[in-house]
Symmetry: C2
DNA sequence: AGGGGAAATTGGAATTATTCTAATTTGGAG
DNA sequence: CTCCAAATTAGAATAATTCCAATTTCCCCT
């Protein structure tokens, strides 16, 4: 089974008119397409600039609205590094993020198979995690 | 050996005039004291309001300056939850943060003994991590 | 097909956290 | 005691994001 976020570079037309209960408007489609086409964790403003190329009348407010709609429906993920502006990621698999300080590029980092939060954190028992974000910064050694 | 951040509620006078190479001015002392006295992960503005009680002329800009100085000298940690304003934490032991969504309170969460990043993340080999932040949100079950 | 209405989009203003600036103050070194 | 770099201050500036009020879109009902 192939999920939407596994499709490499879908055109806006490839999306159904509704996704995860979210009405897929022209703008939402375009924004989703932007995010799926170049998976470099763009900021809202990056998305705005890219979306404008094919849809010159789109507004930044709409980009924010659409991103928020996509995020809250679990179609894309919001990614934060400290106080930097949020970035958006279409990879819905369990993963976290590493920012290479020499290039600024952000890489997805997966968890080792079978690991589980409770295996490495002293969580108060009964804790229900609704949201988890792991952000790493560093460099990739030349060795 | 007892470290500064293990002292429960030090008065500003308890600090040496220099700490980790950072000149301890009146204001920095006061701010450090605020952060150590009530370890509830206050925001810069919270710190400002508390510091004002004993030092009515302190400015918010100074609070930001001092916090940045304390953070960059490794005396306190900056803590972020998504796009919320930064919070400050005097616990220098290796730990991460859990925000209880029913109370808003933030709790320190330690790592299980002996666990190591590389044990649970598929890091590209040669990766040097300079900064790691793990932020959890959720609820503590009643059971 | 047509019309009503809720939801989405838009541009611009507003907000919020944080940083910057330039002027003043402070405090240690000589 | 004086000098000077560093720290503090108030207020302005910035940046990201949200809000607002006025359209516009487009689904549903007949």
């Amino acid at each position: 089974m192939i999920a939407l976020h596994d499709i490499k570079s879908p055109k806006p037309e490839d999306f159904p008119s509704e996704l995860e209960g979210l009405r897929m408007t022209k703008q939402r489609r375009e924004i989703l397409s932007v995010i799926l086409s170049k998976r470099d964790h763009p900021t809202a403003n990056d998305v705005f600039l890219r979306a404008q190329k094919r849809m010159p009348t789109i507004s930044l407010a709409t980009v924010y609205n659409c991103l928020e709609a996509l995020v809250s429906h679990g179609i894309v993920r919001q990614v934060n590094f400290e106080r930097e502006s949020s970035r958006y990621c279409p990879n819905l698999n369990d993963h976290c993020h590493f920012q290479d300080e020499s290039t600024g590029q952000i890489h997805d980092v997966t968890f080792k198979k079978g690991v589980n939060l409770a295996d490495f954190l002293e969580l108060p028992q009964g804790t229900e995690i609704s949201h988890l974000e792991i952000s790493l910064k560093g460099r990739i050694g030349s060795s």
